[in-house]
């Protein structure tokens, strides 16, 4: 349920960057979410549709890229991505595991329409 607050933050951040770049329309919003963050994409999408309705971001598509949790064994250096946090290395059965990926959670980029006069790299 904290996704309502997260969707609000995401919208503010998106609009801030869209306005800075003189966007006339926001087309795509590209978000990176790590498995270890507590963000649920369906809920963000649900609140997003509700919140963005009367803004420049209305109708924009949210694209989520997932970064799976990655654990690395400090003993045999084996890296693996279990569905849930594991406590034992599947290769050497060591308990010396550490998290090496999956914390990320950020707005990577936005695709926007701008007036022709604004000189920016064309995609």
């Amino acid at each position: 349920m904290h996704e309502l607050a997260i969707a609000r933050h995401l919208l503010e951040l998106t609009l801030e960057h869209a306005e800075e770049n003189k966007a006339t329309r926001i087309d795509q919003i590209n978000i990176v979410i790590g498995q270890l963050s507590s963000f649920v994409d369906e809920s963000i999408q649900f609140y997003w549709d509700m919140l963005s309705d009367d803004t420049l971001a209305r109708g924009a598509t949210l694209n989520f890229s997932y970064v799976p949790m990655e654990l690395t064994c400090k003993h045999c250096q084996h890296s693996f991505s279990p569905e849930e946090l594991a406590h034992i290395c599947p290769q050497c059965e060591s308990l010396a595991l550490e998290v090496t990926a999956g914390d990320q959670c950020y707005l990577e980029s936005i695709d926007i329409d701008t007036p022709e006069s604004v000189g920016m790299e064309k995609v």
Binding site: L10, L13, S37, E84, L85, H87
Partner: protein
């Protein structure tokens, strides 16, 4: 024309900016602050009450209590002798930096040495919202089960200290401490851990020492 604008910014950056302001306010008034998070019933209010028994009156301690409704927790903290402010989140499952800022405005910070923030009872949402306190503390209690680090990794990943409460119940409840601690160690290798019982007082001195050292 259609352009791709690179952002690469934390979605929570607005909250984090405000959290940094809160930390500045607290530093300016020389107030050490902690944010206590846990599931409902883990013993947040009990731990605060037990801590106040020792901290007061030597230290001026204030408590900000976040709850969806009621002022029961703030009343308990006030009864124990602390300056207490209740924040009702109106259905929100967590405190955020804005709510803490509003709470701070209600306190006489110049006459406070320590601020204890009691977050809303929840193991998921509060972990995403930095408040600006100096330390984050998670309370796990034995009856919740030994699998919680595996089920709520984000919460265990972001805290500075872990209190394992209700250890007096260990003989009666299947709780594999090694399995529990193994999950904690993977997620947060440098975490300070304080096993204790608010009921019997066992283990409290180590926790209080950490708290008083700031």
């Amino acid at each position: 024309m259609n352009v791709n604008v690179q952002v690469v910014e934390n979605i929570m950056s607005a909250n984090e900016r405000l959290a940094a302001e809160n930390r500045k306010t607290l530093d300016g008034a020389d107030v050490f602050s902690i944010n206590i998070m846990a599931s409902p019933g883990a013993g947040k209010t009990s731990l605060i009450e037990r801590s106040l028994e020792t901290l007061l009156p030597g230290k001026n301690v204030a408590v900000i209590d976040g709850d969806v409704a009621t002022s029961i927790d703030a009343d308990r903290a006030a009864a124990a002798g602390a300056q207490a402010v209740q924040i009702n989140t109106g259905g929100n499952c967590h405190l955020d930096a804005v709510m803490l800022q509003e709470g701070l405005a209600q306190l006489d910070l110049e006459n406070i040495d320590m601020l204890i923030v009691e977050n809303v009872g929840n193991l998921i949402c509060p972990s995403a919202f930095d408040l600006g306190t100096h330390k984050s503390v998670l309370i796990a209690s034995v009856p919740e089960g030994d699998d919680k680090p595996y089920k709520y990794p984000a919460m265990y990943r972001g805290v500075d200290a872990l209190v394992i409460n209700k250890i007096d119940l260990l003989p009666y409840i299947p709780f594999d401490m090694d399995y529990f601690k193994q999950g904690v160690k993977i997620l947060n290798p440098d975490l300070q851990i304080f096993p204790l019982s608010c009921q019997t007082g066992e283990g409290l001195p180590a926790w209080l020492k950490w708290l008083e050292m700031g």
